[in-house]
């Protein structure tokens, strides 16, 4: 287990080896060809050694503010974040520290005020809403705190949704979903509705839904918060197993120190900055 906390934002980048940077290109034509990888000629920022070839997810100098009571408050203030394929990074910190906001930005659910976000060698922070939707569909799997399963669909059909959004037929998607549900120990619950399953089972279904498309990135928002410690541990074991198999970069927002042992890295965030 690697339980390194991030004392400084540069510590997040300790595994970076090559002085590469993803430079954005003009994507005004709306295509999904977002940019190219270039070697940085001047390594001007000695405190920011750019990125790495294995980075699936790279965010640099992310800033995000909200207006509260007419006053601008910075929720994220120049955050750099990177995650490599197969890596499991935890975002930890007190409530209101900005970790969920960062997760939303990393997941293309929210636009940052400034900064760059690169997913799988493509700059995505300046994309239109519809294009960001496609990025989420293609590259990202989500695990939510409250599972967010569709109540009217069986476990199997819930897991099938991302596949069908990618154009797969329902029959084939069900077949693959069934296999994955077998793998997560819910083979006998394929036809069960979310309302008839325990929270732990629901979260396992949600995990299966997140990884069914073998996304490059899995983002989990407090995946154990609604579960007891035993179920939480089971879910985290399962998450690690599933993302290890797919090689996805995983970012987990959590308050729960009991699951820190599952992290490759833990980044503490407070007042919109990494500690």
């Amino acid at each position: 287990m690697n339980n390194d906390h991030c004392p400084h934002k540069l510590a997040n980048l300790a595994h970076l080896t090559l002085p590469q940077v993803y430079r954005s290109t003009d994507d005004s034509d709306g295509s999904l060809d977002f940019g190219s990888v270039e070697h940085r000629a001047d390594n001007s920022s000695s405190t920011r050694p750019a990125t790495v070839p294995s980075s699936i997810l790279a965010a640099t100098n992310i800033r995000k503010s909200y207006f509260i009571g007419g006053e601008r408050r910075w929720v994220l203030d120049g955050v750099d974040f990177f995650a490599a394929a197969g890596e499991c990074v935890f975002l930890s910190g007190p409530s209101g520290s900005g970790k969920s906001t960062l997760l939303s930005i990393l997941g293309c659910l929210l636009e940052s005020d400034s900064g760059e976000l690169i997913i799988s060698n493509r700059r995505v922070d300046q994309l239109a809403v519809a294009q960001r939707t496609l990025i989420r569909r293609e590259y990202i799997g989500f695990v939510f705190q409250r599972f967010q399963l569709i109540r009217g669909l069986s476990a199997e059909d819930n897991v099938s949704v991302p596949l069908t959004l990618q154009g797969m037929s329902l029959a084939e998607a069900r077949d693959r979903s069934g296999q994955l549900l077998e793998r997560v120990g819910l083979g006998s619950h394929r036809k069960h509705m979310p309302t008839s399953m325990s929270p732990g089972q629901c979260q396992r279904v949600a995990l299966a839904r997140a990884v069914i498309t073998s996304p490059k990135i899995v983002l989990a928002d407090e995946p154990t918060a609604a579960l007891d410690s035993k179920s939480g541990a089971e879910v985290m074991e399962l998450l690690k197993e599933l993302v290890s198999a797919s090689g996805s970069a995983t970012v987990v927002v959590t308050h729960d120190p009991r699951i820190h042992k599952y992290a490759d890295r833990i980044c503490e965030i407070e007042n919109g900055r990494f500690q």
Partner: protein, 375 residues
């Protein structure tokens, strides 16, 4: 899959689905019954024309309603009979009068006088009494549907019309006037006698043309020979008579307003139901958006739900309408629903239901997928 999600989530919330279906069914039934009653009622305005067996109706210049003729010289009919292509031409008399009732009161009636030896103008079929009822002395035919107004006259019962003795010699079924005055059929000559009218005058001339002859051309020839008449094909005069009531009374507006209100209520119910369903599942829509469902797919999903509610509701609504029509339609309050009305109402309600999905869509459109991470 989107259709499947739409279907499953609809079925999952059966209470709201039922409310939506009731809205659609209500709209379909109301539109069809209102429309059917309207058609049933307005058809009476041209009943005498529709059942006259004539190809052409000839009346005084400016005729506008079959029940309100202006007399014209009966001798003009000879000039019509001499037109090539005219197979048969017979006169018809329509006058207003009063029939005495057993309690000493009187009921206004529309006396229709037809020639005994022709089918032209015989809008009735005798369902009670002898087939040659009009051959009886003082014989008149009344309609069974007017029994209530005329105090249940029996066959053979003596009454008075215009102070003259008549005998109820036969009864028809379903020959009802658009007006409140019942039709009383009698012979052409007796009609003038009962109403003390000028025997040298007629109300209409009914013309049957030879097979293959263009009725419009014959009408033109009639108008050329007789300056003071209007001659039109029967269908045209039927439409003219209906149009008279539509344009000179508020009946069209009244039925139209009721139908519109029915549609509006249905629309509101469907929109409200879909909106409530969406509000209930707003986090699911946010989730779908978060995991990559596009705006187009969300629209398809909502439209599919509307289409499903509409289709099922329309099918049930038409079934309910047919049952209501079978049970409640009478000659007096006829519910006459043509196939076109069923199709038009189905199409209209379907389009309205699809439009109703715009309201929940506007709500879903505002849902920020980021909200699913905010608990």
């Amino acid at each position: 899959m989107l259709w499947y999600i739409a279907f499953r989530t609809l079925l999952f919330d059966r209470g709201k689905l039922l409310a939506g279906l009731i809205g659609v069914i209500f709209s379909v039934v109301l539109v069809n019954i209102q429309g059917g009653l309207f058609f049933g009622l307005i058809t009476k305005a041209s009943l005498l024309v529709d059942r006259s067996h004539a190809d052409i109706w000839v009346g005084h210049r400016g005729m506008h309603n079959v029940d309100f003729p202006h007399p014209m010289p009966a001798r003009w009919i000879n000039r019509i009979r001499s037109i090539p292509g005219v197979q048969e031409a017979e006169p018809l008399r329509i006058y207003f009068s009063e029939m005495s009732l057993p309690d000493g009161n009187f009921e206004g009636v529309t006396v229709v006088g037809v020639r005994e030896e022709t089918e032209l103008g015989r809008a009735y079929e005798i369902v009670e009494g002898p087939a040659d009822a009009l051959d009886y002395a003082d014989g008149v035919i009344v309609d069974k549907c007017d029994d209530g107004k005329l105090f249940n006259p029996r066959i053979g019962e003596i009454r008075e019309i215009g102070g003259r003795r008549v005998r109820v010699s036969g009864k028809s079924q379903g020959v009802l006037s658009f007006l409140v005055t019942p039709y009383v059929f009698t012979t052409y000559d007796r009609a003038a006698e009962l109403t003390r009218s000028d025997v040298s005058m007629s109300s209409y001339f009914l013309v049957k043309v030879d097979p293959g002859v263009d009725a419009e051309k014959v009408c033109g020839e009639i108008r050329r020979r007789l300056d003071d008449v209007t001659a039109v094909p029967s269908k045209v005069y039927a439409a003219t008579s209906i149009n008279f009531w539509l344009t000179r009374t508020g009946i069209g507006l009244s039925f139209g307003a009721a139908t519109f209100l029915g549609l509006l209520v249905g629309l509101v119910m469907v929109a409200q139901t879909l909106y409530a369903m969406v509000l209930d599942r707003i986090s699911e829509f946010a989730t779908l958006k978060a995991i990559g469902a596009s705006e187009r797919e969300i629209i398809i999903l909502l439209s599919a739900q509307s289409a499903l509610v509409a289709s099922v509701g329309i099918a049930i609504g038409i079934g309910v309408t047919m049952i209501i029509r079978e049970v409640f339609s009478t000659p007096r309050a006829a519910i006459d629903i043509p196939l076109g009305l069923y199709l038009a109402s189905a199409l209209l309600v379907f389009v309205i239901c699809l439009s109703a999905s715009a309201l929940p869509y506007l709500r879903v459109r505002r849902v920020d997928p980021h909200s699913v991470l905010q608990g």
